[in-house]
Subunit: 321 residues, 2 copies
């Protein structure tokens, strides 16, 4: 099997017309209060302003625009309990396709409802995520549909469009901090930033309570790790080779932040930007606060990757739990 | 003294180039969860996604684009403890003008800091808002600068641009619900909707704990009323003739909602849209829930006018206080 190729800046530029057919650009805003806290000029990329509340929707739209007629007939298949599933459901809906999404038994009813509200068929199958995923892959194969994994090139190309927006809106950006779950967002940022201006520093961040992607990147081999974070968007137990490969080539650094500091960052974002961030979305601010000295004097963009925090979780966070 | 003229659709179209020079369009999103709650198709206009977190910034930008050279030299003057002050501060900053904003003693330090962070000079003067306002009006006059009242035509023209966005994005909208503080937002919506399609119903909403504008509209004369709402954006004690005049001509209805229901609507917006709304911003949802039967079958837009809720207030709201 040949290695998949690495998406290029050109592929990401080409994805724009598929993304902007259905989505607005998201704002990049400067916040004086956060700048004072971090001690440098801080800008926030508001991917939480997108439909479904997260950057991933860009990737689903690009993927859905490149299907064969046979794939279009059978529709999209994936396994997800989070933003990836909502992204695929959204893309299927606007493209007039069927989305079939597998979740394991006991999946969060709120997230299942969100996917169903977007018109997806949600199938409960198996006791854990891996069982659900293997089952739906077989289903896709049997029905001639398209199984969508979380790190596919078309997804990276689509999400990379937000990185282009950052460089257009702030051409003299010096550092971009981006949270990593499966890594598609970080890969999009790396490819765009390093191709256009290799001097832009790209720093990835994950929770110290789910360090698989960080440990893998640091060690140069795939390392499975404990996964105990509350922040679903950065909760990866088994690392992804495809995105590791791209990050090994381009990424400058990869840091870990404690869940406690992510929760504190959610509170700070509410206070200073009046935006609700999910854990992954706030991890970039937590990292910036941890890297204060290193960021001094650098124009820094924090990727607020998504805002899908439940009301119950928000209450916990505000109560300091 | 002649009555000021009523802004026209043409004036609002003309304001677009001054607004879009500095601001993005805001999204209008459909929410299935809210639609199920209200029992009709619900769309939310996200004015909370703008810089400074509220629709008013559109008005400030339009006003700042129409100053005389003398006014530009002396800058903008106003009195405000809220979104109006931030709007004027933002407009002044991007236009390279000085903003001088008066607040009374004891003004909220967070709001003062927000205006200072935008580069405004904030002057504390007098024991109450009226004293601060009268003082700054005299200052503006003495220094040859421009005092900006909250209901000026240039502000209405600027904020009306969001209503045009609504009609472009959802041409078959049937009802628009908009919160009223001084009334500039409601006037912008009325002028646009009624000029383009008089069959669109425009409903204004205010807190039952601050009903001055509603009582004035209902009775056809200016009625001062108690003002005890927590929702600063709809907290008007003394009504404004200029916006009453426009609303008397165009507005279909004006309802009151209890502060308790506004707080409940803040929680529902967090849960279903993952957006933080200030009280005024959530009042439109509170009104829709109250008007369920009347809205049945009508494609309805709720104006989420702003998101500037403090962390302390958010905690109260989540604790059900």
């Amino acid at each position: 099997m040949t290695e998949p190729s690495i998406p290029t800046l050109n592929d990401i530029i080409a994805a724009r017309r598929h993304v902007y057919r259905y989505l607005p650009r998201t704002p990049l805003y400067h916040y004086r209060g956060l700048s004072d806290l971090v001690g440098t000029e801080i800008w926030v990329k508001h991917e939480n302003h997108l439909p479904v509340g997260a950057f991933k929707v860009r990737g689903g739209l690009n993927l859905a625009a490149h299907l064969s007629p046979e794939e279009r007939r059978a529709g999209l298949f994936t396994a997800s309990t989070g933003n990836h599933g909502q992204s695929i459901a959204f893309a299927a809906r606007v493209h007039g396709l069927k989305a079939t999404i597998a979740v394991p038994e006991g999946a969060n009813p709120g997230k299942v409802a969100a996917m169903q509200n977007l018109g997806a068929e949600v199938v409960v199958h198996g006791k854990d995520f891996d069982t659900a995923r293997e089952w739906i892959m077989a289903e896709a194969e049997a029905r001639g549909g398209r199984f969508v994994g979380p790190t596919e090139e078309r997804l990276i190309e689509g999400v990379g469009t937000y990185a282009l927006e950052i460089l257009e809106d702030l051409p003299d950006v010096q550092t971009i901090i981006v949270p990593v779950g499966a890594g598609s967002g970080a890969c999009g940022v790396c490819i765009v930033a390093k191709t256009i201006n290799p001097r832009i520093e790209v720093i990835a961040v994950q929770s110290a309570q789910a360090p698989a992607m960080q440990l893998s990147w640091k060690s140069g081999r795939l390392v499975t790790a404990e996964m105990n974070t509350f922040a679903e968007g950065v909760a990866t137990r088994v690392p992804f080779e495809n995105t590791q490969r791209i990050m090994r080539r381009y990424l400058d650094d990869f840091v870990l932040v404690d869940d406690r500091d992510i929760k504190s960052a959610i509170r700070l974002l509410l206070e200073h930007t009046h935006n609700l961030a999910e854990g992954a979305g706030a991890a970039s601010l937590a990292a910036a606060l941890q890297l204060r000295e290193r960021l001094a004097g650098k124009k820094t963009v924090l990727v607020l990757s998504g805002g899908n925090l439940s009301l119950a979780r928000l209450k916990e966070v505000l109560d300091g739990e």
